[in-house]
Symmetry: C2
Subunit: 306 residues, 2 copies
């Protein structure tokens, strides 16, 4: 096991390498457009590297962003994090990919590392967090199975049972309670990994970076497979209606988005997660046993996909 | 002055008459489609009359809804209303109109009446609330002036100074703090009108119903004037981008929307306020001294329009 001396340095290398790798491959999948990069600085300390791809042949809108910020914790954020520490460091990679084709699912992933310091500037607490999940507009069971199986395989390398635990957390977290339905077909979600399950920090560092490195294998094969499927105008409209639910989740429930807004994060980097074109029609109904109804069925009753 | 014996009965008549009047005139303005009506019941008591118009020649999506609900206040709602009363009655009319043409502004209005009861079932507290505001995508100063002047005229009938006070409240309320800009060019906004400004309930009943009856004169002439303006595809896209800000306000900041969701209101009636087609493009920039820049200028620095 490669035990890093400094998680901070190692994790920074990890997120930037992953960002390059995932951007390169996505450009290759799209074939028509490339990422634009915006470097930004945070007033309180640190900054980020926002990379956005828009109006592609395959990707309607996508962002693969990294950031590394540090500084003082405001009082509401101390409360939110349940800490009395005043100084923090946080870095992570965050990505959302909205394909043009309604047969291709949206994907989201995030991998992050957090340090809190005491008044002597020593690390008082640290943890890893992250996850990945998928939001299809039309359900291909084989895609959902591939996504979950690939995640389970990498989780099992760390320890059996981890996948099951964090798959459940994911279903609980990405839930539009006001609609009584899941945002998508889930994946895994984990936060504040440190001394839980009797594992040390090295274990969770390995776990988080291994899961992150696996994103490529979980989502990109599905995107390649579905990017050229035929679809109708009505199916595109259905995708835009369902994207409305994505917006509802992110603005009403997502802690990451609300945390970003509360800490005066860079708006355009936070809102890269919002879909490009969206619809809210009144009281949309689906036909019994249609493809649309099949999707809703699974969103109302999360399944075991493995 | 016509002093009603029961505000509840009189206000119910007022909102239902206003609903009929505003729906009829809007159908006449549109010319192509008509409202559909959905009656709904609330589990805890009461219900509503939701009226939706969609995909018209003039109106892309609009809702003119009434509701009258009663029952027990949950603890979080007691806290929110700062009351220990357990029983309530509330009724109101709420409307949002999203025209197809980007040169025509979106309008929102709401007029409501609230009663809280003591354990003997007697009215412990009552108040009126409401307001109306306009969200243009292209700024016609004459339209903004007409909107505000018409509101000021009806407010002045009740008392000089009221317009100025509640115009300011409106600018403060309909503010997208995370963007540092107003949702639109404002109007008036007032809440919990009862014994403030040394006026009695009869005064505020008259005020609220007179302002409500004036909506027709404030907004519909603007809609008639702009509904057939020529526009380009880029201007439609700009409208959809700005509609994104409307969604952001309603889901992140609007107390009415969040109150509705917290009290398990009817989702489809609450979300009738969300625009039909919406866009989130990354980091949209406008050209100096363009029509788009002119609008943003006014949203960043609310103006006196009278």
């Amino acid at each position: 096991v490669n035990t890093p001396k400094s998680y901070k340095e190692s994790f920074l290398v990890f997120i930037h390498n992953l960002q390059d790798l995932l951007c390169n491959e996505l450009e290759e999948i799209d074939g028509a457009v490339r990422f634009r990069e915006d470097l930004w600085q945070r007033e309180g300390g640190g900054g980020g590297k926002t990379r956005i791809i828009e109006n592609g042949a395959v990707i309607e809108k996508g962002g693969i962003n990294t950031s590394a910020v540090h500084g003082k914790l405001s009082e509401p954020i101390q409360k939110y994090l349940q800490t009395e520490s005043e100084d923090f460091f946080a870095c992570g990679i965050s990505l959302v990919i909205h394909p043009l084709n309604p047969k291709a699912p949206t994907a989201h992933a995030n991998f992050r590392y957090f340090e809190l310091y005491n008044t002597q500037g020593e690390i008082e607490n640290l943890w890893f967090g992250g996850g990945m999940d998928m939001t299809p507009y039309y359900l291909y069971e084989e895609d959902a199975q591939h996504f979950h199986k690939t995640i389970k395989t990498v989780c099992d390398k760390s320890e059996k049972g981890i996948y099951e635990q964090y798959k459940k957390r994911c279903d609980e977290y990405f839930h539009n309670s006001h609609r009584g339905e899941a945002r998508g077909i889930g994946g895994i979600f984990f936060d504040r990994l440190n001394d839980i399950l009797s594992h040390d920090n090295d274990f969770w560092y390995q776990f988080t970076t291994q899961v992150g490195s696996q994103f490529e294998e979980t989502y990109y094969p599905i995107l390649r497979k579905r990017k050229s499927e035929a679809y109708t105008e009505d199916q595109k409209i259905w995708q835009e209606i369902r994207r409305g639910r994505y917006v509802e989740f992110n603005l009403l429930h997502d802690k990451g988005t609300l945390f970003g807004l509360k800490t005066n994060g860079r708006i355009e980097s936070i809102f890269m997660s919002l879909p490009p074109t969206v619809r809210w029609n009144y009281d949309v109904q689906v036909t019994d046993s249609s493809e649309e109804a099949k999707l809703l069925q699974v969103l109302k009753n999360p399944k075991d996909w493995v």
